[in-house]
């Protein structure tokens, strides 16, 4: 193991304060903001939401400042903080996405009407009609893009319970690899498979796991602009767990980005290429599956994402406990 994102031990007073604030005060506070905001739509709800976001950031900073001083890394706490941060940000983002969807729908409808008006006007002034038409098309395109972001945001907070089925992990991973491999033909990307033979079935949600693995594969392929190698492995993890790893030999993830890549809306992709929600969605899903997702350095350079899953299913204790 080469790296653990921002180790978070649990001793210093600053960490205790930040952690306590974060764990106990924040979720009810954000929830209260969202509930208060629900019957007071508009700027007031947004202000309350922003106050909640400010508190979230402050609490996290306090927690991290404490963490930097202490030494022993503690993986569970880090995972817990990530999950709770995701939950708080998810609640906030959902409120905003709901608020934005309505004006977005109005803009979209007006754009359609404008297109009809331009058709009528085209006879008298064809040149300016063409310009207006191009502008309207751009507006429609950007409205569509905003809609994708709000839908993905709402998706982030939607709490679909996983429906566990006995799942052949290697076969499921291979389906996704085959899909990406066919799509990436001609891009100079080679795929290496390492599926441990004789793996027992894993009790998990197949569609949710497909979403996570495909997300990681698409990211890996996008990181290999000039070609390279993607390695996918499925193996046992001790007596009661399974691992799925997706690695690439691309440029890798700079250390300063490591603890932010699971944050909603954090992206290094060019505008329009990604919503910045993919990895937060993956983290949310892995939580619900009773598993975990971590990022490591790939021995040959590049990034490697590791998914851990319990063989016996999510179990009753998968909700994040304060």
């Amino acid at each position: 193991m080469t790296h653990q994102a921002a180790p978070l031990p649990g001793r210093s007073p600053a960490q205790d304060l930040g952690g306590t604030l974060f764990r106990y005060a924040l979720p009810p506070f954000v929830l209260a903001c969202v509930l208060l905001g629900a019957d007071r739509p508009g700027p007031r709800a947004l202000l309350l939401g922003l106050a909640a976001a400010g508190a979230a950031v402050l609490a996290e900073r306090l927690a991290r400042r404490g963490a930097r001083r202490a030494e022993a890394p503690h993986h569970c706490d880090e995972h817990l903080i990530q999950s709770q941060k995701l939950a708080a940000l998810g609640q906030l983002a959902t409120g905003i996405a709901h608020e934005i969807n309505t004006p977005l729908a109005i803009i979209g409808q007006e754009t359609e009407l404008l297109e009809l008006d331009v058709q009528d006007a085209a006879a008298s002034a064809p040149e300016s009609a063409a310009r207006i038409r191009a502008a309207v098309a751009r507006i429609a395109e950007q409205v569509e893009r905003c809609g994708e972001i709000t839908h993905a945001t709402l998706d982030l907070a939607r709490r679909n319970d996983p429906v566990p089925q006995d799942t052949d992990l290697a076969a499921l991973a291979e389906d996704m690899v085959a899909l990406v491999e066919r799509g990436a033909r001609g891009d100079g990307i080679s795929f290496t498979r390492r599926y441990e033979p004789g793996m027992p079935p894993v009790l998990t949600s197949a569609p949710m796991l497909r979403q996570v693995i495909l997300n990681l594969l698409v990211n890996a392929a996008q990181a290999l602009e000039n070609g390279g190698e993607i390695t996918v492995s499925v193996s046992r993890d001790g007596g009661d767990g399974a691992l799925v790893e997706v690695g690439d030999n691309g440029p890798g993830i700079p250390p300063e980005h490591r603890d932010r890549i699971f944050n909603p809306f954090f992206t290094t992709k060019p505008p329009g290429k990604g919503t910045g929600l993919g990895l937060s969605v993956c983290l949310g899903i892995m939580d619900r599956l009773g598993g975990a997702i971590t990022v490591l350095d790939n021995p040959g350079g590049g990034a490697r994402f590791v998914l851990r899953l319990p063989l016996g299913g999510p179990g009753p204790g998968t909700e994040v406990q304060p």
Partner: protein
């Protein structure tokens, strides 16, 4: 609950649908076929269906738009997407929109049959979880 899986196949190629209905009916599935997204929504409004097998690329309302509508109007129905070209991005979109599985054409009939059965099993388990909750 009946043990016969009720399947709706949606594809703009009539020959594909005819063959699909014939082959899967022989495997004891209750199969109907339609040629477009809007027809699929009409069918679902009038008939009980367990699993929809939906082509991604169709003229007019495409597979992803149809999937979005099915998930909104009939969340209890499982959807398996069929793709002829294999694009990871459209696959990710489909799965993010709630498709149960994503299958590339050409497929082996036994393989798709197994996936349809698993999708059906998924729907049954979800229903019993919801009833138990």
């Amino acid at each position: 609950m009946s043990d016969t899986v009720r399947v709706l196949v949606v594809d703009d190629e009539p020959d594909f649908i005819r063959l699909f209905v014939k082959r899967f009916s022989k495997r004891n599935l209750d199969v109907a076929g339609v040629g477009s997204g809007p027809e699929a929504l009409n069918h679902l409004a009038a008939h009980e269906v367990d699993v929809v097998v939906l082509d991604v690329r169709m003229p007019g309302m495409d597979g992803l738009e149809t999937l979005k509508e099915i998930r909104t109007r009939h969340p209890q129905v499982e959807v398996i997407m069929l793709t002829g070209h294999g694009s990871a991005e459209s696959g990710l979109k489909g799965i993010s929109l709630g498709a149960y599985d994503y299958v590339m054409k050409p497929f082996k009939i036994d393989d798709l049959l197994e996936r349809i059965r698993r999708a059906w099993d998924h729907a049954r388990r979800r229903r019993s979880m919801e009833e138990g909750a």
